[in-house]
Symmetry: C2
Subunit: 318 residues, 2 copies
Amino acid sequence: MAVYTHLGAEELARLIAEYDVGELVSAKGIAEGVSNSNWLVETTGGRFILTMYERRIDIAQLPFFLGLLDHLAAAGCAVPATIHDRSGEALREVDGKAVALIEFLPGVSPNEPTPAQARAVGAALARVHLAAKDFMPQRENDLAPKDTSRILDKCGMDALRSIDAALPEIAERAHRLVEQWPDDLPHSIIHSDLFPDNVLMLGDEVSGMIDFYFAAHDMMAYDLAVTHAAWCFDKTGELFDAAVGKALVEGYENIRPLEPSEREALPLLAEGACLRFVASRAEDWLDTPADAHVLRKDPMDFVRRWDFYRDQGAAAFA
Amino acid sequence: MAVYTHLGAEELARLIAEYDVGELVSAKGIAEGVSNSNWLVETTGGRFILTMYERRIDIAQLPFFLGLLDHLAAAGCAVPATIHDRSGEALREVDGKAVALIEFLPGVSPNEPTPAQARAVGAALARVHLAAKDFMPQRENDLAPKDTSRILDKCGMDALRSIDAALPEIAERAHRLVEQWPDDLPHSIIHSDLFPDNVLMLGDEVSGMIDFYFAAHDMMAYDLAVTHAAWCFDKTGELFDAAVGKALVEGYENIRPLEPSEREALPLLAEGACLRFVASRAEDWLDTPADAHVLRKDPMDFVRRWDFYRDQGAAAFA
């Protein structure tokens, strides 16, 4: 959560002039995104989010992410379209960094989601899956269990133990999960990271889904499982909200009914979702000095969820 | 530049409901303010800045600052008015912290001010001085040379030398300035910190002056000198822009002509302005670990300005 780059008013005005959106009226650096700088920009023509890509994101993949937004927005999904500049480009360069101007969408991210909100999110996710099927560019998911299990291994058992004594055993559990992982369930482009932070809502309506920078070709039911793990627990993963979970899946199935094989796989797919966040959080934890004034997210929050899915099996989705 | 507190959407919606401003539509934490958290909030009734006071600011003084905004806005100055809640209060409490809802003003802060912009800022500052004269509450300036000289002394000569070998001599120079400091020039409430960051402009028009949290009863010509030091140099204080300086003073005098004693005192007052920023930056520098990922502002940027005013004297304002 930061703005990593200072963009002066004059520089911003020059950049905005490259788009057909009127003149700059206001610009505020906003505290969103961990790998981008973002500004909420107002012009005489409307409001926009200006994103500058700082790190972590492979610039070569940006056309995939931005093209996907345009494809989904054109299909009526609640995602922001990109604004193309006067020469038709969605990406420009400022100070050697890639920038994109993106539609501003209203809404706030729920902190304590209700079943009605989860139902709407399930439906919105299903609409993305259906609309993305005819998006031609492809991107492989590089955070599937085989990848995230390797991330845990790379951390090293001693380092994992320094975070929590239980983590080395979790790395072992990850190996078994990789062997059981299915690959034959229906695919589309999936969001892969649809936490409440990445959903804007007006009351019980989804007004926007954002941050598609993990989107990739993968199993749709896996995306539903990621969203389940992200929406149905308190932060620490200790409390499961069955009503929110049930509404999420129902909302999804109202738009795209799951095949029996998908439904059966959900608990295992949810374990894979937990592995992913255990691994990325463990890696970040070890990369972040304890005194760095940055909030380190505890990987154990997702070990608890993983335990829940493993213990409950199909009951977690009943 | 940060948002220090997480405010959930539900908590924000409950807070906004205490004001007669419609329903919450959007809220973005913005990267402004060093001692506050700020959100750009949109409701069905308009746009606002929600400020949560985190530290540095003495809560007991907030009614002074907020009352001043209302007084100046009512007098037609380009400052944001505060929004009062349904019971008429400008201040509320959330999680034990004071919050205020403030009018949103358009505009962007110039990074490379032009003479036309400086002229408009000079005029806007003079209007504040005139309008503030009948604001009854008083607040003493606790960053006058006697105070800021003491801050330098408290840093200690060894610590000052660790920043720059020239700083201990500057602390001596500060003592001499305190002895020469006038007190008999015309007073009003002054802004005291009108850097370009704290001015919003639409082209050459001032659309807003913000961040009045250093406002205090003091000499008006001192405020003009602070603004001169803040607007007429490049960041490092090496390059002086005479055209910007001339336009600033002219713009001020178009609204409020300086008395001869004020004009004569300007170079000395500008030295006092430089002392203030040398002292606060030195103090922050020593408080901030070198590896804290926070930009430390170099106190020497204002030693260079100080040298300029001392060497040039009246010529700096010719």
